[in-house]
């Protein structure tokens, strides 16, 4: 279990010297506990304390990086079972398969298709970030040829799926510089695969049925000198897969059990159903998969999957912010009211909901207050006349409100005089609570 701030404090010199740039030793200890500071920043901590802390602060799940240069992803190093406890840190890799049984033209076309699986959502690009080349042919030369095509065409991290060490070796000849994930090592081939992985400094998948067998296998692979491992439990059925994913995560986090302290890979093939693999993959992304491999390749299949990953890996600790600017509710005409609020999403959506409820088409000017609510922003000078007037200029509110009247939250009524002076607009003090908006709008702006 992780050490608390007080636990760490007890190991510190308690002199409050401030040399670590924290005002007190306890403040420093709390930052260390939250992984915002490293114990090394304390110049006076004893070697003994350092050792105690070092053991407790090693990541329970190994960080594994796959790929090189710009085509690199990192997975693992997760710290919690539920995202609300902290956040999920490293988004799962999403891999699309390419079989080496296809013709070269088909392989090239599929690689091209993978490259185009990129979408823009809420100002962020989401994309398939891995390709998994399958050695379905069993032939090392064919495999290497397929890998070569995909590697050339697709700027993504690669998974080499073959349990034949010769195939892996042949493929590595053409793509070792890409640091692919070798998939993988099992009880019978692990010596050869681990040796390859070690030689080429590649991460490797350990594949065994059940967690006990996996425990055994990862210990052997680490003994062979490979550190970056990905687990595949080879479970049959969704329920068993979910169980293995859950148990492995719990062993790593709750029991600090090293042999299972690695990210996990799951594989979903369509078998004629184009929806089901996506649904399964969605469930596994929510519950602990580090990589999902699928043969789905249509944009309507990958878009929801990539969105699930984006949602699940959003940091819940960051206050969600709304885009600053003028937001239109309904179809506001030139006589529609202009309300002002902050860009803290909870604040904004509360206001938006009430405005919507009022059925009075309106404009809402969202001021960038760094995700703080009305009073907090006001008290910290992020939502005072200066900022509001600047936002009114920046977002050219006159274009939507030629009447030159603006409604400010009742909680910042004190700003009304100054804002009126500064902006030259008529400043109307609105209700203190969002719940008062509908009756206010209906009575005064209802047309």
């Amino acid at each position: 279990m992780a050490l608390t701030g007080l636990d760490i404090y007890k190991l510190l010199p308690k002199t409050n010297c401030g040399e670590c740039k924290s005002p007190t030793c306890l403040a420093f200890a709390m930052r260390v506990a939250q992984k915002q500071a490293s114990i090394d920043q304390c110049p006076h901590v004893s070697a003994e304390s350092k050792e105690k802390l070092g053991a407790a602060s090693a990541p329970p799940i190994q960080l594994v990086t796959i790929g090189a240069g710009d085509f690199k992803i990192a997975i693992g190093n997760e710290t919690v079972l539920f995202r609300h406890e902290e956040t999920f840190h490293h988004p799962a890799g999403i891999a699309v398969t390419v079989s080496d049984k296809l013709s070269e033209a088909e392989i090239g076309a599929r690689a091209d298709k993978i490259v185009h699986l990129i979408f823009e959502r809420v100002g962020m690009k989401i994309a398939v970030d891995m390709a998994c080349i399958m050695n379905d042919s069993g032939d090392p030369a064919k495999f290497a040829a397929a890998v070569k095509i995909v590697a050339q065409k697709a700027p993504v991290a690669l998974i080499l799926a073959s349990d034949n060490p010769d195939s892996l070796k042949a493929a590595l000849e053409v793509c070792a510089d890409r640091r692919p994930l070798l998939c993988g090592a099992n009880a019978s081939n692990y010596q050869a695969v681990a040796a390859l992985a070690k030689e080429k400094n590649c991460p490797v998948v350990a594949r065994a049925k059940g967690l006990e067998a996996l425990t055994d296998l990862t210990q052997k692979i680490t003994a062979a000198g490979v550190k970056e491992i990905v687990l595949e439990s080879g479970a049959e059925g969704v329920r068993q897969t979910l169980e293995d994913l859950t148990k492995a995560r719990r062993y790593a986090l709750r029991k600090s059990f090293r042999p299972l302290g690695y990210p996990m890979l799951t594989c979903m093939m369509g078998d004629g159903d184009s929806f089901l693999p996506v649904l399964k993959a969605a469930a596994y992304i929510a519950k602990y998969a580090g990589i999902v491999v699928t043969d789905a390749i249509e944009p309507w299949q990958l878009m929801p999957l990539l969105t699930v990953r984006q949602n699940i890996y959003t940091d819940p600790r960051k206050p969600l912010q709304v885009e600053p600017g003028v937001h239109k509710i309904g179809e506001p005409g030139s006589k529609a009211p202009l309300l002002i609020t902050t860009n803290f999403s909870l604040t904004y959506y509360t206001v938006e909901g009430e405005v919507e409820g009022s059925k009075v088409a309106s404009n809402i000017l969202v001021v960038d207050t760094e995700g703080t609510s009305v009073l907090t922003a006001w008290a910290a000078e992020k939502f005072t006349t200066d900022q509001i007037a600047a936002a009114m200029n920046k977002y050219e509110v006159e274009a939507v409100a030629s009447h030159k009247k603006v409604i400010i939250p009742g909680l910042i009524a004190v700003e009304s005089g100054k804002l009126q002076e500064e902006s030259g607009w008529e400043v109307i003090v609105g209700p203190k609570e969002a719940s008062g908006i509908p009756s206010y709008l209906k009575a005064n702006w209802g047309g």
Binding site: L6, Y9, M30, T376, A380, V414, G417, V429, E433
Partner: protein, 634 residues
């Protein structure tokens, strides 16, 4: 610009104002108090006055009812004179004398109390000491200079490595030594690691050594005159902080200091004026010569200390909230305008951060939580609710912005705990019967914090409000009625009040109170969770603040303001800020302890703490969303 005479009743004070001035400005000029929470922004509607004679122009607002306007009421902040006018300040807008129980010591000791240092195990060694010296006269063999001779003599009495004194003293020294026939009294003041010879007098005056301990509160200021030698309180005085006319809360005053030309100076002068007036009052009452008061020690929140010392306060409310100083070295009191001995020193109790100041450090000293092995919590409930949790190994603290509701602000008939305030309430018979206790047994003018806590817990008890603190439908009881502004509950009917109007509690009043209590409780929750502990781990809970004197614990727990801990673990400690200051002025050991405490306290900033909002929303319920946290009341 036209100028008019504005006369204020009942005082009869008159002042010349321009047509640009508001009546509130005029009242400030005249030194007449008119209640105002928003500082004149036409928001609070508290500065109600009655224009008896003459013409005023009143800006538009919606804070008075039609009926009130018809009977001559106007808002002072919205009204400008258009002729000579006579204005009456009605009873509800007046400041009625002093707060009755500003400070329990002021009552209990009534001027003749001894501060019990032994109880705190502090050695009696005041910050300013007077020692009587019989100095061997010089000779050809013993030919040290007068100053070195003085220092040598002092060192035979006290162990001080480094000494200093001002040029003025050195200039006077030869004369005083000889005129006193080498028998003199030295006043020694602590200045960090050194000792300053503040004053040299002929003969033995060591019995006349006085200091003042001052609690500089946002709302009230309290002065205790102390005989430093006898550890005795000689006289006490308390008054409202005159800065109130510039804004009720800290944030409004910070804005005033920054935005208004001359604002900072006015805030500074206001508090200095209050302090000097009270120093005069107390010294006069005790027959002490101001010359013999050589030491003033102030405990106040960080903003108040900035205004007192006239420091630049403009960064306090701006992220990352950096004050100019939290620990100011001793300065000459006259430098800031405090009128005691011209060479007397002014000490400030060190604070922790912008929002946890010396008043809290002082409270920690007085409560003793920093030296006890058991886990304790100190809650100082005011406009800001400051909370400290810890023991002899560590201390964490935070400040939750509670708003002025518990001090009567933001509540329609809210007022401070003065004459005519309803301070206790019992609601019976399903809301039909209300029993009240009014301060000084007068007819009520309004309701103060303790009464508000009672009323919330009582209304919940009889079902007039539900757990979300929303009123039932009118008709639930006859006192619950619907008006144009919504539903309200009648606490006292017009005939039974001193103001001739019904005293009511409105839904927004209740909402403000719930927000205040939620902020305090949420702050305490975040704080205790920051150290991975629970309220049930607390061995002691100390409640401080003027407010704490009346607090009904059952009610405070029933509404979820205080955590549900066994009552025997809870202790009121009154004005802990002042009590700590008194200990420190009498004991250097205690004053050093203040430094240690301030340095040791770890400040947890709530405004950047994401868990605070979560805790806050779970505390917006009666008593709390997690009912299991309040087993004794659910």
């Amino acid at each position: 610009m036209a100028q008019y005479k504005v006369t204020f009743l009942p005082e009869g004070k008159a002042v010349i104002a321009t047509s640009e001035d508001t009546l509130l400005d005029a009242a400030r000029l005249a030194g007449v108090y008119v209640s105002s929470l928003c500082g004149g922004d036409m928001i609070c509607g508290k500065c109600r006055v009655v224009v008896k004679e003459g013409q005023v122009f009143e800006e538009q607002h919606m804070l008075l009812s039609r009926e009130e306007v018809r009977s001559g009421y106007a808002l002072a902040c919205a009204s400008h004179p258009r002729s000579d006018v006579v204005v009456e300040i009605p009873i509800e807008s007046r400041m009625e004398g002093k707060q009755i129980v500003v400070d329990e010591d002021a009552q209990r000791f009534s001027g003749l109390a001894k501060v019990d240092l032994a109880k705190y195990e502090f050695e009696h060694a005041p910050l300013i000491e007077k020692i009587y010296l019989e100095i061997p006269p010089p000779s050809l063999e013993d030919s040290l200079s007068d100053l070195s001779r003085l220092f040598r003599a002092i060192r035979t009495h006290v162990d001080v490595p480094i000494m200093q004194t001002g040029l003025k003293n050195i200039r006077r020294l030869p004369q005083i030594l000889r005129r006193g026939d080498w028998n003199i009294t030295c006043t020694l003041g602590q200045r960090g690691g050194t000792v300053e010879v503040i004053e040299i007098e002929e003969g033995d005056t060591s019995n006349r050594n006085y200091g003042v301990a001052i609690d500089v509160g946002t709302t009230t200021v309290v002065v205790h005159l102390i005989d430093l030698k006898a550890s005795r309180i000689l006289a006490t005085d308390a008054t409202y902080n005159s800065q109130i006319t510039f804004g009720e809360d800290v944030i409004t005053r910070l804005i005033y200091a920054k935005e208004e030309v001359g604002g900072r100076e006015r805030l500074h002068e206001a508090i200095i004026g209050n302090i000097n007036m009270m120093i005069n009052n107390t010294t006069a009452a005790a027959g002490v010569n101001l010359q013999h008061v050589t030491c003033a020690l102030c405990a106040g929140n960080t903003t108040m200390m900035h205004f007192l010392l006239d420091l630049d306060s403009s960064n306090i409310r701006r992220e990352p909230y950096i004050p100019a100083a939290t620990n100011v070295p001793p300065v000459r009191a006259v430098e800031v305008g405090i009128q005691i001995n011209p060479r007397g020193l002014l000490y400030g109790v060190p604070g922790v951060s912008s929002y946890v100041g010396g008043d809290i450090t002082s409270g920690v000293l007085a409560s003793g939580i920093y030296r006890a092995p058991e886990l304790s919590m100190l809650i100082d409930v005011g406009t800001n609710g400051e909370i400290v949790i810890g023991n002899n190994e560590w201390l964490v603290c935070c400040s939750a912005s509670a708003g002025p509701a518990f001090e009567g602000g933001e509540v329609k008939f809210g007022m401070r705990a003065t004459h005519g305030a309803i301070e206790r309430v019992k609601v019976l018979e399903g809301g039909e019967l209300v029993e009240t206790v009014v301060i000084a047994n007068e007819k009520p003018r309004g309701i103060c914090g303790s009464g508000l806590i009672d009323i919330i817990s009582e209304l919940r008890h009889v079902g007039v409000i539900d757990r979300t603190a929303k009123f039932a439908e009118p008709g639930y009881c006859s006192r619950l009625r619907r008006t144009d502004d919504g539903i309200e509950f009648v606490l006292a009917y017009a005939d039974d009040t001193a103001i001739g109007r019904d005293i009511v509690l409105t839904q927004p009043d209740i909402d403000n109170l719930i927000r205040s209590k939620a902020a305090v409780f949420a702050g305490a929750s975040v704080l205790i969770k920051s150290v991975n502990l629970r309220f049930s781990d607390l061995e002691r809970v100390y409640i401080a603040g003027g407010f704490g004197n009346y607090l009904d614990l059952h009610g405070a727990i029933a509404i979820g303001l205080l955590p549900d801990v066994p009552l025997e673990k809870v202790k009121f400690i009154g004005n802990s800020s002042l009590n700590g200051a008194k200990l420190a002025i009498l004991s250097r050991e205690a004053s050093l302890e203040l430094e240690n405490i301030a340095q040791k306290m770890t400040y947890i900033d709530l405004s950047s703490n994401l868990k605070f909002m979560e805790e806050y929303s779970s505390a917006m319920f009666l008593p709390h969303t997690n009912l299991e946290l309040f087993p004794s009341v659910t």
